[in-house]
């Protein structure tokens, strides 16, 4: 079967991408597999200037998942372009830069810098980070703010496809999805982490200093699947599904409800070569199930 996927301008050799913030800048995983075998590499959320992130502790394990409040610690876009991107195999595997900003202006500055970079395959806009005080989520929860940001990003993105990453922490995901589509988004990815909290009854303190964190991992898969299904029904642009994917069956479930590609997040923490293994195993699974083509299988969920 032909494994390639075309996400409207972003062409992948297979539908498996990494999820931002769980795969570092890609290079961290070089000892564990061949980066060229991945559909795409999505790097840690970058801001215009380096960010320190939140105080420790920032992570806690929860049943079938984890909470994080990293707070977008990153080396800044300049250092990334200078020191990391040249070492990534962007000629064979698209490198998607996930970006974060606190204002519409900062988003446009970031986009300008990135749009002229040959090695950047697409931009993924994080309008859904629950762990930072300014920006992030507020763009993702307010349709008008989301429209403005995406519209402006598109103006500066040149030929780079713009992926808009949605937050599940909204009343109706369909409204936001529709809005960003009409604002010109090329692709939608979802879901980001779900707001959560953990406390310690011995110390009577929250388990992470930020008090709230974002839940990820297998625990969130049913929520993610529902939202991906709803969004796929609502928009015409390609959708990337993620949230709790840990094996090939999970991947096919997201494609079955309509996703064109998937991202692997927290599962990369369970084994650093996880995503590489999934690429190999998916071929076997697809063969086993007798799937003829992605076009035939995608969104072919039978109801009633």
């Amino acid at each position: 079967m032909d494994f390639r996927v075309d996400l409207g301008g972003l062409k992948l050799t297979n539908p498996i991408m990494t999820a931002s913030g769980t795969f570092g800048y890609g290079l961290e995983f070089k000892p564990y597999g061949n980066l060229e075998e991945l559909g795409a590499i999505v790097v840690k959320g970058l801001s215009l200037r380096p960010r320190q992130g939140n105080p420790m502790p920032r992570i806690v394990e929860t049943p079938c998942g984890m909470l994080n409040a990293i707070g977008l610690q990153n080396i800044g876009v300049e250092k990334f372009l200078l020191e990391k991107l040249p070492l990534l195999p962007w000629k064979t595997t698209p490198v998607v830069v996930n970006l974060y900003a606190q204002s519409a202006e900062e988003f446009s500055d970031l986009t300008r810098v990135l749009s002229s970079e040959e090695g950047v395959g697409a931009l993924e806009v994080n309008i859904s980070c629950p762990n930072v005080k300014e920006g992030g989520l507020q763009f993702g929860q307010d349709p008008q703010a989301a429209f403005k940001v995406v519209n402006m990003l598109k103006k500066h993105a040149g030929s780079k496809p713009v992926i808009v990453k949605l937050s599940p922490n909204v009343a109706d995901i369909k409204v936001i999805a529709k809005t960003v589509e009409s604002a010109g988004a090329d692709i939608i990815s979802l879901i980001n982490t779900i707001g959560g909290m953990a406390v310690d009854i011995h110390t009577r303190k929250p388990c992470i200093t930020n008090v709230f964190g974002g839940l990820s991992g297998p625990a969130i898969k049913p929520v993610a699947l529902k939202m991906v299904y709803e969004v796929c029904k609502t928009v015409k642009i390609p959708v990337i599904g993620l949230g709790g994917i840990s094996n090939t069956q999970d991947i096919l479930e997201f494609i079955l409800v309509g996703a064109s590609a998937v991202q692997i997040g927290t599962a990369s923490f369970t084994r650093p070569d996880k995503v590489f293994t999934l690429v190999k195993d998916l071929r076997v699974k697809v063969e086993e199930l007798g799937i003829k083509s992605w076009d035939e299988f995608r969104g072919s969920l039978r109801l009633g």
Binding site: G21, T22, F23, G24, E28, F29, P31, Y32, K44, Q52, G53, M56, P57, R58, I59, V60, E61, P63, C64, G65, M66, N68, I70, Q73, G217, P218, S246, T266, S268, F269, T270, R271, P272, D273
Partner: protein
């Protein structure tokens, strides 16, 4: 031999449990696994995740490499929570995903004297270090512990190194131990390198004395870790340059004057 810090190639492998033995109670566990293909520097660690964990617990657990021989990789683990409890119940033949060697390890020269300060489970990385050291006569070890000494791999340390163990059962014991620590550090500061591994309160005390006496000291931190490869940014420590660095890759062994504990 010079334990140089080299960027050894890391690997992720499924290794079989050979045996599990207990020292004293079932809370102190020695796990022996089939040997991995890599070599390591003492102070480095591995990520450990049994195949049977499937979706839960999600995270692997970090453990210092206690010892590695041609026959086995050995870890020394104390049961402190759910993950370590599950690990203590593993059976021979079960598969465990192991990735490593991670972190930078201790740097030391065989021909220089070294003071090792180990607190509790902090003894684990020093077992391999002492047993493979070419001149054990150069090693001075002070070991502070709560559980009975027989729970720890203390007796197997080379005969010809100098070692001293102190048990802390009460506040008085702890205060006395702190005084001895301080004295040792003061006496040793000009003589060579100090290596330390143990609980954070223990490391904080050591850091204080080492700064006071300007000792060349290296501390092995034990932060919570999710990935072990530098990707999640959950394990960072704040350095005196006001940077957050990943303890899993840039360390876990830190110069005492460079990190906030």
């Amino acid at each position: 031999m010079n334990h140089k810090i080299e960027n050894k190639k890391q690997r992720c492998q499924s290794l079989k449990v050979q045996t599990i033995t207990y020292s004293g109670t079932r809370d102190f566990v020695h796990v022996y696994l089939d040997p991995p293909i890599w070599d390591y520097v003492p102070g480095q660690f591995v990520m450990f995740r049994p195949g049977s964990w499937s979706n839960d617990p999600v995270w692997p657990r970090p453990f210092s490499i206690c010892e590695k021989t041609d026959d086995a990789l050995r870890l020394f683990i104390q049961v402190v929570g759910r993950g370590t409890k599950l690990i203590s119940c593993l059976r021979p033949g079960e598969d465990v995903d192991i990735w490593g060697p991670l972190g930078n390890g201790f740097s030391l020269k065989n021909d220089e004297s070294v003071l090792i300060l180990a607190g509790g489970m902090g003894i684990a990385p020093f077992v391999g270090l002492c047993k493979t050291h070419k001149n054990p006569g150069n090693i001075n070890l002070l070991f502070g512990h709560r559980a009975p000494l027989s729970s720890y791999p203390y007796d197997e340390l080379p005969e010809n190194m100098s070692k001293e163990a102190m048990q802390q059962k009460s506040m008085e014991d702890l205060n006395e131990f702190q005084l001895v620590l301080k004295q040792k550090i003061q006496d040793f500061a000009s003589k060579g390198r100090i290596l330390a591994c143990g609980p954070s309160s223990f490391l904080r005390a050591i850091q204080k004395y080492c700064l006071e006496y300007k000792a060349d000291a290296w501390l092995s931190l034990e932060n919570k870790m999710a990935c072990g490869v530098g990707a999640c940014l959950g394990c960072v420590a704040r350095t005196t340059d006001d940077e957050y660095v990943q303890t899993c890759t840039c360390v876990p062994v830190f110069s005492a004057d460079k990190v906030f504990l």
